[in-house]
């Protein structure tokens, strides 16, 4: 059977089942609120959000690969493009863009103009250190780790802190070759 052509983000988003973004936004808000009440330290909450995102990412990648039919990406540039154009569109219904490539192509920025997680949200003075959308950085890190790329994802710009867009910096640390759990010659 001939391999299927990769589908565009819009096509996949139109074909999956969707829910109201406000339910999603409010549920995420409830999660962040619970974490703030339980953990109290903003740094702890950031870490917990990233961890939750990581757990989501390692499972999300399976669904992403199954639904989008993308073939193996040849390099990190392609990976970042696919995340921004197909991944974000497929799950969150928004398109992101990629920019700020560094010289050796291992570090880039993914920019989100529109972010359903932060509708109706304002950070109070007591939580100024909070990366509200940190779950997204965990998702990207988790998903890429499952396809053998170790990355570091940090926030450069955050609209809740007064910037004009959301910018995530994705840095490829290393490619980890797939390890098979058995030896070939046994």
């Amino acid at each position: 059977m001939a391999p299927l052509a990769p589908r565009s983000g819009d096509a996949i988003f139109a074909s999956v089942e969707r829910v109201n973004a406000e339910l999603f936004t409010l549920t995420y808000g409830a999660i962040v609120r619970q974490l703030l009440t339980d953990l109290e330290e903003v740094e702890e909450v950031n870490k917990q959000l990233e961890q939750m995102g990581y757990n989501i990412g390692i499972r999300l990648i399976d669904e992403f690969l199954a639904k989008s039919n993308v073939s193996r990406c040849t390099d990190f540039k392609e990976t970042a493009e696919v995340i921004a154009k197909v991944g974000f569109k497929m799950f969150l219904g928004v398109t992101a863009s990629v920019s700020n490539w560094d010289a050796d192509g291992t570090c880039c920025s993914i920019i989100l103009e529109d972010n359903p997680l932060v509708d109706f949200v304002e950070l109070p003075d007591t939580c100024q250190g909070l990366y509200y959308c940190n779950v997204l950085s965990g998702v990207i890190r988790g998903a890429l780790e499952m396809v053998s790329m170790k990355t570091e994802v940090t926030w450069v710009r955050d609209m809740l802190r007064g910037d004009d867009a959301f910018e995530l910096q994705v840095k490829l640390l290393k490619q980890v070759p797939e390890e098979y759990p058995y030896k070939d010659d046994e």
């Binding site: 829910v19 109201n20 406000e22 619970q34």
Partner: protein, 194 residues
């Protein structure tokens, strides 16, 4: 230059124009998020009752905000004062906005005057959840029960709301029923209003 501009920065989130509410995210994004919510809460509690309570509290906050949003946007700032009014608001409008369809049914309890039930064949939040045997009667619908309680409480109709599985013959998965038990004062007020 006219026509070129960046997105207007609003200093106060309340000044931003209110979205129409038509934006959508994929069901799997919500399902993943909800599963993380449940998993996180499982690490924080020792027993099932605590877990249900925490999910309900999370839902309560969602419900309070949903009421404000819907009252302002869809109902033109009119508020419901009658029991049946608020129940049909929850059953139709709230359900439609949150889950994309009206609830399957709204029934009045036969045994007690103050009980009402909203039933749903398959709650959206429960679609990808399976309960292990040792968790007994735990129902993640407690989150939805919390949403309903949040809406009712903020609208001035205090109630105790719980979620239950009701096995249906001929169906593999049980139906979920949200049981609403209104407080005394609500019934007294309703009787007074005639």
């Amino acid at each position: 230059m006219i026509g070129v501009g960046k997105i207007k920065q609003y200093s106060n989130v309340l000044d931003k124009p209110l979205a129409k509410g038509k934006q959508e995210v994929s069901l799997s994004a919500f399902a993943f998020l909800f599963s993380e919510l449940v998993q996180y809460n499982q690490t924080q509690v020792d027993n099932i009752a605590e877990l249900e309570r925490r999910l309900e509290d999370a839902g309560y906050a969602v419900g309070a905000r949903v009421l404000e949003l819907l009252c302002h946007r869809d109902k033109g700032n009119r508020r419901e004062t009658r029991l049946l009014g608020i129940l049909s608001f929850v059953h139709s409008t709230v359900w439609k906005v949150l889950f994309g369809k009206v609830a399957d049914s709204l029934e009045k309890g036969t045994e007690h005057e103050d009980e009402y039930m909203i039933s749903e064949k398959e709650l959206l939040v429960n679609r990808f959840i399976s309960i292990p045997k040792d968790m007994g009667t735990f129902n993640c619908g407690a989150f939805v029960a919390g949403i309903v309680r949040g809406v009712l409480d903020s609208a001035g109709f205090p109630a105790v709301v719980t979620a239950h599985f009701v096995p249906m013959e001929g169906q593999q998965r049980p139906r979920t029923t949200i049981l609403i038990k209104f407080a005394e004062e609500v019934l007294r007020r309703e009787a007074r209003l005639g």
